[in-house]
Symmetry: D2
């Protein structure tokens, strides 16, 4: 299936890591729409996609802001209104705050929920009707794939901001899987347990600095593509991923 | 220990059910402060406590509103400034919304988080310093006990609002247990899995209407008291409770 | 209720720690039957109980041996045939093997299952009919309370023997809770997460050797008694317990 | 990579369903060894593989019998001693018993553990040294992939035999993942939650008989192949799979 497909995909949360790799992966089959707050985050990805013959557009979006999300989907409709949505990936990191609880401001605490609770609600409200509309003829079951973390299943000390957001995201994802799975939309949640190997983490000595001790973003992209291509007789709702040397 | 104790307790979320029974239970040992949005919710409880020789005050509070919570703790300081806080119970139900996801307004979706995420953050910010201050001499390890639900560990279809709030609450509770447990404060989370036997649910045919098919609020009060009185060599972080006939 | 009760209790797995404390606790209400492989394990407990006015008998039993278990229950029938069984506690440790997997003999690997899988099956087969027979008139719902461990929910490296047994025990306990709960028998599983403070562990520097860094066996006894006395409107199926300073 | 590879694979538990599909999938890359108690179970699979140009041998094996497993691996050494083991799949169903607990014989109860506890121990003892020996040059990280079920994480009423075995299997798998992952061997556990679409289940009305309401065995084979090909920077330890219409 060439990128001149009748279908397209959306990746929310694109930067130097997972989002970039996922976008490149999906771009080999579908045109992709990239959402990030800052154009500087998606521009290198657009360049990489178009230079290899793919199609991509970027829309500057704050996923936690209802009007910004509305504008983004209006723009998507203008640009890709003749195509159907095959896959949407929610990979928004948001602001990460790690602090003793009594030093957390309300804004700090809510940062986790802003991007992983509210932001996901806003995104899913817009993406799900489009995914439902693709069930009949999408090459693979239309998919909503969500990036979780260790903090999705464990509330560590100093982690109440991030963990409360990631737990809320997982709760919502489970609810959607139970509601929309039977309608043919695949809702999947990936628990990313480890440091991702990107420029920003280059100096981090994850797992003692051993080779492959960080997660390759391309490997996450493969996982998301595998999830997207699962037949509806066989949906994975949740999987974990971690480097072979990760303690867990 | 008579209610004229040097210690007191706070129950946030008092109405006709769990909060009422918990307040009565703790009132046999400590004076209690009752927080509820509406005085009509705590007045019967105050009456029941005082008529049996206990002490209780009520403060009209919206736990999701920072200034309301601040005012409540100012008032607590005025009234009980000479006492120390032995136990705080967070039993806030909040607005329960059960709807297909695409019919949920943002306000609907956020209702779960408002009371169980943000509200708990605000309450815990005020209660934890007081609990820490009691570690040295409290008759039992100072305790923060939190009411969860089935939706704390399972995101059902149509349940994304409530489940995202209850998951966020559980995440925060786990984080606090790991941070404040070693400082001597007992943080416990109870998963209430079933219908509570209160006037409002009288007509509900839970578990086929069999005898004791609903949870007695007094039994939850016993559980919370048991949690409060656990020695620090042996803290329960989480327990579930359900009627003997409940499917799970 | 004096120990000359119409009811009795059984504690399987009695030594210097949890079993001893649990037996003493239950002995203040019911006569107790103590099962242990070696009389030296239960004799001090019998002495402690009888010297404080309680009643106890010990039966030398290998819980993993069908004929030994049968003999034990025959003996129980002879001695307490006129009484009904109010509570049974399965607290069998069994042989603990911690080794690299490729150094585990089949016997090593099966040690976990022998005591926590097979042994519990054999015990429950005999205890459940007696517990069912008590539902109508037992002072508290007849209870089968089971001792789990961290390894009940986490298979650590080098822990496959113990973890496979403890996972199997938890699986069986859940199955029994779902089958026998609705019949009025309370099946509860306690996850003991930490070192127990007994003579054998005296020199262990659990949690840096801080005060109360090990679990008091008496506190576990209190927990089991609390579980036993829960009303059937409100059964706890699972709770965890750990020292306030335990990492988890 | 043609089937004349320097590597081979082993599938334990081959019949009309998952094992057959998994064997065909892996046979397109590696010669496969099929283990089943009865040659009638693996002969159709061998025929299917060889007729499409692959290589396969079958060895009649009772995985719960130490000498039978030893013989099988002796035979494997004779036949494929010059090749290295790239992947081993443990897909042994064993005897499934669903009965009220008090009607379970000891043999019934132990049936779950026999194949999923003891059998897996025996298989893993033989397979792991071969997998370790392949770490340096296997085309993908050498893999041990294990078939779980809903009963791996939930002990249902009447399910204590199967659930105790599947819980024990999961415990062992987690232990091995933590021990052998850091050595480069990928240990993965798949929770198969639903009815598999095979001749034996043809008449079963899973999920109301809707199209694709049962899991395609080929889809499980794809999942196992995906797991096998994951890079070591990114191992999935556990994933679930279920039909889009499955209640969970």
């Amino acid at each position: 299936m060439p990128p001149s497909s009748n279908f397209f995909s959306i990746i929310a949360g694109v930067g130097a890591g997972t989002g970039h790799s996922v976008a490149l992966k999906f771009a080999s089959t579908y045109p992709v729409v990239l959402l990030a707050r800052n154009p500087a985050n998606y521009e290198p990805t657009i360049k990489a996609i178009t230079s290899s013959g793919g199609q991509a557009i970027g829309i500057s979006t704050d996923v936690s802001d209802p009007s910004s999300i509305s504008n983004a989907f209006e723009e998507i409709k203008k640009q890709y209104g003749s195509k159907k949505l095959a896959a949407a990936v929610y990979n928004v990191g948001g602001k990460f705050v790690r602090k003793p609880f009594l030093e957390l401001s309300l804004e700090d605490y809510e940062a986790g929920y802003e991007s992983n609770g509210k932001g996901f609600y806003l995104f899913a409200q817009k993406a799900l009707p489009l995914l439902l509309d693709s069930v009949a003829d999408s090459p693979h079951p239309p998919s909503l794939i969500v990036t979780g973390a260790t903090a999705s299943i464990r509330g560590g000390a100093l982690m109440s901001s991030f963990a409360s957001g990631k737990f809320a995201l997982r709760a919502t994802t489970q609810s959607l899987a139970r509601e929309f799975g039977p309608k043919g939309v695949h809702i999947a949640h990936a628990i990313i347990d480890g440091v991702i190997d990107i420029p920003r983490t280059k100096e981090w000595q994850a797992n003692g600095g051993v080779e492959d001790g960080k997660i390759k973003a391309d490997a996450i992209a493969d996982a998301y593509w595998y999830l997207h291509t699962q037949h509806r007789s066989h949906f994975t709702q949740e999987l974990d991923v971690r480097p072979y040397v990760e303690k867990f």
